[in-house]
Amino acid sequence: MLLSPAEKSYLYESLISDPIIRPDSRSNHQYRPLEAKTSFLPGSNGSSRIRLSDGSECIISIKTKVVKLVEESNLIDLDIDIVGYRDDSNYISNLKFQLLNLLNENFEFEILKLTEQYSFKLFIDCIIINNLSYPLSLLSLSIYLALKTTRLPLLISETNDEEIAELPTFSDDWNDSKYLIELSKNGKFQPPIFITLGIIGNNLIFDPSQEEETVLENGLIISFYNNKVITPISNTNFALNSNNSNFKGLNKKIIIGALSLGNKYCPIILEALDNLIEEDINDNDGNMF
């Protein structure tokens, strides 16, 4: 997105001022409102859809397959499709790597395990229909919703198949299926999420919009799991196709500030997502809209 020099300098000066003035009056830690829906794809184990007020939209489907543990190196596979980008483009493979890496490092794989030999494998398919700002956070929150509402069929055969080789069999009744959280040992299943923070001057802004991205001094991606900010923490230029003249190096103090903001506000984001899921499960209308 190309802005005129006058627009850029107006935005830059508004964002750098103290207190911060964002073009839509959001506070620095405020996300844009989301519209979300879960469990609407009948053929998937879990699904979710998030729409942002600027028209960005992401749909996630999670499917599962029973695999032999010895044959699989990864129990999660992920694919991203963004309209207008080749699957092998840098943009896509970068997003894919970040998400897959985060999930593989911070996932309770025990809950997928069926028997000594067999396990479920998750296939996460992400479609981004429209995106204006950097989509990592959108993707990550959608995946969170989808994983939380993923259901697995109930295993009715023995879990111990070391002595007698037996294929796992499942209950025919989908009502018997279990949410991942019910299969979890400690009763709380919370997938990791990514949030994006823009850095401008001494200000840190959550969820930068497309216009804000073009004037940012740097962009920070932080991950959050188990009630705290974890690694990977990385920085990147969120703006696409722009010769971002403001782009600068990172100040150490800013990173520390970002961590404390993350620790403070990510639990609230997760709580809001959990509230929606609860509402959606109670509703159970299966509608996409």
Binding site: L2, L3, S4, P5, A6, E7, S9, Y10, L11, E13, S14, S17, P19, I21, R22, P23, D24, S25, R26, S27, H29, Q30, Y31, R32, P33, L34, E35, A36, K37, R51, S53, F206, Y265, I268, I269, E271, A272, L273, N275, L276, E279, D280, D283, N287, F289
Partner: protein
């Protein structure tokens, strides 16, 4: 719960159907009774038609834009409102690309600098063009544009620049030609740009307004909007402009033999105001109050556009006033707040008549 929404608000999507059901006071009147006892189906009501819907069987009507004619019947080819001018029947689409008309005041963004012309995105199907001959030269002198002007076109306007202009003509192939030959047109600065569907802009004589809170707005008919700091009505403002202008010109003279208006005494206002200053990219000093007001207006317009309410000066001001009751301006981006603002604007308007 209140705490949550300060960080993120997540809601379930509302289906469009439920909005119509709940909204009994909608200002679109759907007269169910009239349809039955009328042969001219949709003609006599101000209804919305969908593509392929029969409008009339009477062949007397002339088919305008947005309609097609099949077996002596006229159908709609778009989703929109029926409009009748004498015998001409057309359907105005609810959404879609902006259709340029001569004389429209629009805002555009330069997408390309080419031979003696700029290509400008004004939200139409094809980019509009702005000929080098249709802009004011710095210094305000009136003359044919020379080769040296052609060479420094990027000094006037370059890719990404926003400008405020009028549609001069529309060529046979549908491409609009623009001009900025007036002091009210030209490059935009000191503010922020936003886009809304062009169908929400209501055409009027004037499309630039000064709003309360030292903010001005240009409502382009193409749905492109510019919110900026109001020009100060100071006496000495012109001399300041001139000083800056001569500085700019001075720096230019170091590079090139550009001689227009250097050191000359200005006679007309055109000369004073259309110095290099009109092509400057540097914003004036804007204080935080004005910046906050601009953001507030930005949210109000977003809210009105969310409620599909036609945008006028009065409604923007009404919306601004009702937005003042929100303690936290950041709340304005939430759906409930936007709905509330729209409702208050409509109520206020009804009360004032």
């Amino acid at each position: 719960m209140n705490d949550l929404s300060l960080v993120i608000s997540i809601s379930k999507p509302i289906s469009q159907l439920s909005i119509i059901d709940n909204d009994e006071d909608s200002d679109i009147e759907m007269d169910g009774d009239k349809i039955n006892n009328n042969n001219d189906l949709n003609l006599n009501r101000r209804a919305i038609v969908t593509p392929g819907e029969l409008i009339t069987e009477d062949p007397i009507w002339m088919k305008g834009h947005g309609t097609y004619f099949l077996n002596n019947k006229t159908y709609s080819s778009v989703a929109g409102n029926i409009s009748r001018v004498n015998r001409l029947l057309s359907v105005k689409p609810l959404r879609g690309k902006y259709q340029p008309e001569t004389g429209d005041h629009v805002i555009g963004r330069i997408t390309e600098v080419s031979n003696k012309r700029w290509k400008v995105d004004i939200g139409t199907k094809q980019d509009a063009i702005l000929m080098l001959g249709s802009v004011n030269l710095p210094g305000g002198i009136l003359r044919r544009k020379s080769e040296s002007d052609e060479l420094q076109m990027r000094n006037f306007l370059k890719e990404g620049d926003l400008l405020n202009c009028e549609i001069q003509t529309i060529f046979n192939n549908g491409i609009a030609s623009l001009h900025t030959r007036s002091l009210k047109y030209g490059k935009l600065k000191n503010g922020i740009f936003m886009k809304i569907p062009s169908s929400l802009i209501i055409k009027s004589k004037n499309h630039s307004y000064d709003l309360p809170g030292s903010v001005s707005i240009i409502l382009g008919i193409n749905g492109y909007i510019w919110l900026y700091k109001s020009k100060q009505q100071e006496e000495n403002s012109t001399t300041v402009v001139n000083q800056q202008a001569s500085k700019l010109q001075g720096s230019l003279n170091n590079n090139k033999d550009y001689q227009i208006g250097t050191g000359s005494v200005s006679i007309t206002r055109l000369e004073e105001e259309s110095s290099w200053e009109i092509y400057s990219d540097i914003n004036e000093e804007i204080n935080n109050n004005i910046r906050n007001n601009i953001s507030r207006y930005y949210n109000v317009i977003k809210a009105l556009s969310f409620g599909e309410i036609g945008i006028t000066e009065q409604r923007i001001i009404l919306g601004y006033e009702s937005s003042l009751s929100f303690e936290n301006v950041g709340k304005l981006i939430e759906r409930e707040s936007m709905e509330q603002i729209c409702q208050e604007v409509l109520n206020n308007e009804r009360m004032r008549g």
